[in-house]
Symmetry: none
Subunit: 227 residues, 4 copies
DNA sequence: TATGAATGAGCTTTCATTCAT
DNA sequence: CATGAATGAAAGCTCATTCAT
């Protein structure tokens, strides 16, 4: 919660400070970010900093809220009006995640850090945790999935939610690596992630993994590990 | 690689320092751990510290190697001689992970941190990365699984490996939370994780999720997300 | 290049810090000077120090520039408007050097140190090297001297320049020792170095040595070294 | 004065320690040399060091005595039995200096450092000061020169001694630079410094400078410095 | 005599925060 | 409100020296 003073700042100056903060956090991590460096790169006076924020934790909160806003905007752009089942929705989530990582790599990195921190911090609700993909998000998501008959009833939702969360947060970068040159086209908007063939095939595979598991038709089990 | 001086230290003193280091890393993270604090809590002189290690990075390497040793020992204790298919092997991996988390929570936390760091550090082989669950481990694992006909051929192994890695590293704590009081029994060895009913049911569910996916018999897709 | 912060400091405080730095360098040498000691004797906080300078090297540069300024001012005071030949000019240089050593003994010591360091550092232009008496100064000086027919054409200018440099930098203290009580009178300005008889006789002798050599009329060479 | 223990050390071990010390002093200067580094590179135990020497100052003294010995030996090799006048003797001194610099560059550097330190240390007799070229050496030298009628009687011997000392200590490196490729031949002994034409011409020039001064036949003085 | 582990003072540097202007 | 100078605690690391074995 930055000061009112900060929020009333001329747009340009505020953006400048935010950009510096984003860069600082992305580069040095949530804990490594330093006031001195931020003040230096943002060009504001040291005293001003303490009139805008109560500390780096405060800056972080603000940056994370910006991240959420931008991701939300991106999600809205991408949303098609078609009805979808749960897995189509999940696929959409991944698409958003990939685009966000491509277009706002620093913010994505910061969100990433925040997610990891939230894993370590004790069970207490971490207000830094992301809304989408946060602890309770996939719980509800799967509960609805069961209601809608998209998810088998035997599935332990809490367990599966945790699993989904892990995958959701850690898979985007891997997907981008696999996209190769296509990534650039997606980033600039030249190519639509909903139609790009490579992106589709990768997501198909991922979704099948989640939907159908590793072994849809398990062969007769053999001796696997022998040593 | 700690100094020979350190390795020749009387067992008791060495253990004391290692314990302090483990505590420090677990509490403050890989980057937050400080020489000063370690020196203070371990009771050695600052000068001595630098006769043992070249820096905190050096200490970390040592601690990680301890973690690997202990996990390996634990794995050996747990190994049954039965032949197993790939999923049985995977289940065993999770069992080891759970026990390790229970018995060496601080070391487990540190390994956890190291895994997360390895995700952020560039693709170059990170020597801090764990052997089991590391970048290439599940790749090979799945490749063998396909050969053994345990894994469907359509599976993109690199993608699935990343997915498995994410799940493997992030799920143990969740499982323990779900184990409730049983956790204590497993930790002390009163109960065998291979036979405990609650542990078995949780792992069954997890393995089914991985093996069979979220929706073994996917219903006809409905409109899921509507808002 | 000290910080703007330092340069904007109230005159008194700045002078105080500079004096402490000069004392420190003169006493402990260019390498032995320590931040801690400077901070202690100058009475500023350690943190402040790093807001003024980037390190001791930075302080040194500043002190050397002060030395150059003061010496220049002194030279201007001493300059007579008379036209002079090269040796008269050289004599003037020595006079300046003597007065500088008398009036700013610590600064002179520091310049001295800097000259010696510049001898050891590789041929690359050392920015700490003094302007007057520096590597290239006497080279040009002698070149002009030859043009003006003040210096014999057979003289190897590079060699002679090195020789002059050595003498120039190392002779002042010896001269002062020889001046005895007169030194004090010169220092306070009671006596004018351009007119003081003792100073003149010493400089005459020195100039003759340089101008005419050790043996203007070398006797027939005898067996000198016999042992 | 190293311990008797040190002097009784097996030749090989002692030489090894001395070599390490020489390297250390030459590289880091008389003050910068550190016990730790010496112990490390010499391969002796830290405790042993304190059984051989009372401190780095002690090591330095020993090294300087080695330097004197080696220079003396070199001088003896070079000495021709011919009678010489004072300037021939001086020329011989420079030849020794050049060869010493060429053959024992590290020892020469250390002697160089010691000379410079001796200039700064107060008038008290510095036992580190070199014998040849030291404070009193050239005094006597010139006194004898006057007796032998090699030096003009008007010369202030103390002043000239200082001057000679400065030149003697600071000129060798410059001469070597000027020798270019010839230096290597002199170092290895392929060429004799007493006969090598380039060396002779350089020394001729230097000796003439000292003997005859800069301006043997000074032209009528003109306006030299005008600005 | 030889060893090398132990030590704490000391070094340079960075840090978040306060406060007078 | 804005500024940036001031600050001292704390960081990582090196050092010469001691001393028990």
């Amino acid at each position: 919660m930055p000061t009112k003073t900060f929020l009333n700042l001329p747009e340009k100056k505020r953006a400048q400070i935010e950009a510096a903060a984003i860069h600082e956090f992305a580069q040095k991590g949530l804990r490594g970010a330093s006031v001195n460096a931020l003040v230096e790169t943002s060009g504001i006076a040291k005293g001003s900093y303490y009139q805008y924020f109560s500390g780096m934790q405060d800056v972080l909160k603000h940056i994370l809220s910006i991240a959420r806003q931008k991701k939300l905007a991106l999600a809205n752009d991408l949303r098609s009006s078609n009805g979808r089942d749960m897995f189509a929705y999940l696929r959409w989530l991944f698409q958003v995640e990939i685009l966000f990582e491509l277009r706002e790599p620093e913010l994505s990195t910061i969100e990433h850090y925040a997610f990891l921190e939230s894993l370590n911090s004790s069970a207490e609700a971490d207000e830094n945790a992301p809304l989408i993909g946060g602890p309770s998000f996939f719980n509800e998501f799967l509960a609805q999935g069961i209601l809608a008959d998209d998810v088998a009833t035997w599935v332990d939702t809490k367990l599966a939610a945790h699993l989904l969360g892990a995958v959701y947060h850690l898979i985007a970068r891997q997907l981008i690596v696999r996209l190769g040159d296509t990534a650039e086209a997606l980033r600039t908007g030249k190519s639509d992630i909903r139609e790009d063939p490579l992106a589709q095939s990768l997501l198909d595979n991922l979704m099948d993994l989640l939907e159908a598991g590793l072994a849809r038709e398990p062969a007769i089990r053999k001796d696997f590990y022998s040593k």
